[in-house]
């Protein structure tokens, strides 16, 4: 049974005073996330990532379609006891201290009274906020709020954790901590669904990703599979400071690094480039394939025409 199952989820907003203007926030979305996976939900701002998460959290009601988490309906309290949610740019009751907030949330999640305090302390330790536990949240910096957010999402030991832009507002140290936290959660067997527009994070962490744009899912799969489809590049390094004509005509940018020159050219031009070097008797140092990045795949998908446009004009 998939941890998260989304079937044809759709959301149309009726905006404007007379509610005549309709806006499609989410075209019918179908997606499944297996237990124990880290799934990255990628897309530019306004793509529909947050809308999807809000529907899953029961904050927004879909216009069509359904979804299940851990096999249970979205409004089932038993299901909610087993999920955690970190919203985008979170904000918490600023009259409470971090410790009080976590106690409150723990109570709401139904954490047993005796276990609550040790769990709160443990999770504070985990997000490195033990020292600021008694400071009122109104005094917290953005990064600290983000960490409290993660703490409250995992406090009650949920099976599935939903994170909306978990790295936003964090400095590189913070981001690394969050990354290791997510890996740690996976190691404990949890399923993680997080949305982001920072592709390098997704590339590093995710087992699978889904790309969403204009409310439509453009591609789903393991990172390696997705990037394999895109034509790769090779990086060629040779000794010397000269650029052979053959390579110059390719139009690729050559960079000098110490006593060597390097250039990145598309895979199909590899043979021609090596031939050019050989003709000029330049000494080849290395030829290394550069994996196409997720970014390439991402950009390619975003440029692709909207698939379901034709379908929707019929409905």
């Amino acid at each position: 049974m998939p941890a998260i199952e989304i079937l044809g989820l759709e959301k149309i907003y009726n905006a404007g005073f007379w509610r005549k203007r309709s806006k499609r926030a989410l075209r019918p979305l179908t997606l499944a996330v297996e237990e124990g996976e880290i799934f990255g939900f990628l897309g530019p701002n306004g793509a529909g990532k947050t809308t999807t998460l809000k529907i899953l959290m029961g904050l927004v009601f879909p216009t069509a379609g359904s979804a299940r988490i851990l096999g249970m309906e979205l409004d089932d309290p038993r299901m909610k006891a087993q999920i955690g949610f970190l919203p985008e740019q979170p904000y918490f009751y600023d009259h409470l201290t971090a410790r009080e907030l976590l106690h409150y949330y723990g109570q709401l999640s139904g954490v047993d009274g005796k276990q609550l305090s040790p769990k709160v302390e443990a999770v504070l330790e985990q997000v490195k906020l033990s020292d600021s536990a008694n400071v009122q949240l109104r005094k917290f910096s953005k990064g600290m709020l983000q960490r409290v957010g993660i703490a409250q999402a995992i406090l009650h030991d949920p099976k599935v954790v939903f994170l909306d832009e978990p790295m936003s507002g964090l400095d590189p140290m913070g981001r690394r901590e969050v990354r290791s936290l997510i890996e740690d959660l996976k190691a404990r067997g949890k399923t993680i669904f997080f949305s982001t527009h920072i592709l390098s994070d997704a590339e590093a962490l995710c087992d699978r990703v889904g790309i969403i744009h204009h409310g439509e899912l453009r591609g789903v799969g393991a990172v390696a599979e997705l990037t394999a489809g895109v034509h790769g590049k090779v990086e060629i390094i040779w000794q010397g400071a000269r650029v052979p004509d053959g390579i110059r005509t390719m139009g690729a940018e050559c960079r000098a690094a110490g006593e060597t020159m390097r250039v990145t050219v598309p895979e199909e031009n590899q043979d021609a480039a090596l031939e050019a070097l050989r003709r000029e008797r330049l000494r080849l140092i290395s030829v290394v394939p550069v994996r196409s990045s997720l970014e390439d795949y991402f950009v390619a998908q975003l440029d692709a025409p909207v698939k379901s446009e034709a379908v929707s004009s019929q409905s």
């Binding site: 809000k54 959290m57 029961g58 904050l59 927004v60 009601f61 309290p77 038993r78 909610k80 006891a81 999920i83 955690g84 949610f85 970190l86 919203p87 740019q89 979170p90 904000y91 918490f92 009751y93 009259h95 409470l96 409150y104 949330y105 109570q107 709401l108 999640s109 139904g110 957010g149 409250q152 999402a153 939903f162």
Partner: protein, 258 residues
């Protein structure tokens, strides 16, 4: 009461206290002290009357202002600040959230009124140097004022569940004003005809019956409050609040929280 409602209620109370709402008690204490000391010099023969009238009126007005000011933000503030998201993603049902907020604010007002009651009785003791049995009526008047607070809280919460704070404040305030004339409105409807009569009668019964909950003048003159009025008012406040809260839940359950 289930534990989630209880926890939301205590958190709402804690939030009100930390937002320094109880500081209004200082203003109230100053007012009552000034009144107790000055009343003998300004009015003649009616010190007790003035202290009770002024004290109870102040308790009523202060409390209604607090009920409206905090009530209008109970839901809308949580939506604006998005603190609601992490609450509703937990096993908290939407109606539990509304119920918790309601009990939290009502509880705050009861505590506030308790301290104010001490102030009123202190001022009364100061001007008349002893208590008479009719002073028990002051407690009844205070109880009715608390019932008024409960109704206003429910109304403010209702408006907060779908409207912005400004409009919620305006609606709640106007309902309070019209509710004070509720009895006059009902009498007036008897003199109208046709569609107007329908509308006026509808309004007269829809609007909270605050005129019956105000016994300040009676109590100030030491007149007793009949027991069946106490019973009927209690039931009315309960029933009306339940109606309003049900409406709030109906709206809130369906709301998309963007």
């Amino acid at each position: 009461m289930n534990s989630r409602v209880f926890h939301i209620a205590t958190n709402t109370f804690r939030e009100a206290v930390r937002d320094r709402v109880l500081y209004n008690l200082i203003g109230f204490a100053l007012l009552m002290s000034a009144a107790a000391v000055l009343v003998g010099q300004v009015s003649i023969q009616i010190e007790r009357l003035v202290v009770i009238n002024l004290g109870l009126t102040a308790v009523s007005l202060f409390g209604i202002v607090i009920a409206i000011f905090i009530g209008i933000g109970l839901v809308s503030k949580e939506i604006d600040k998005r603190t609601l998201y992490t609450v509703l993603s937990r096993p908290v049902r939407r109606w539990e959230f509304i119920a918790g907020k309601f009990f939290g604010l009502s509880g705050t007002l009861v505590v506030n009124t308790f301290f104010m009651a001490i102030g009123v009785f202190a001022a009364l003791a100061y001007v008349s140097h002893h208590f008479v049995s009719s002073d028990f009526g002051v407690l009844i008047a205070l109880y009715f004022i608390v019932l008024q607070f409960i109704i206003i809280t429910a109304l403010a919460l209702f408006f907060s569940s779908f409207s912005t704070p400004i409009f919620s404040a305006i609606f709640a305030f106007w309902l309070f004003v019209i509710g004070s004339f509720a009895q006059d409105l009902r009498n007036f409807s008897a003199m109208t005809h046709g569609l107007v009569r329908w509308l006026v009668t509808g309004a007269a019964y829809l609007v909270p019956n605050f005129s019956a909950l105000n016994v300040i003048t009676q109590v100030a003159h030491g007149e007793p409050v009949p027991l069946n009025l106490i019973v009927l008012n209690t039931i009315y406040a309960l029933v009306y609040s339940i109606a309003v809260l049900s409406a709030a839940v109906l709206i809130f359950e369906r709301r998309n929280l963007k």
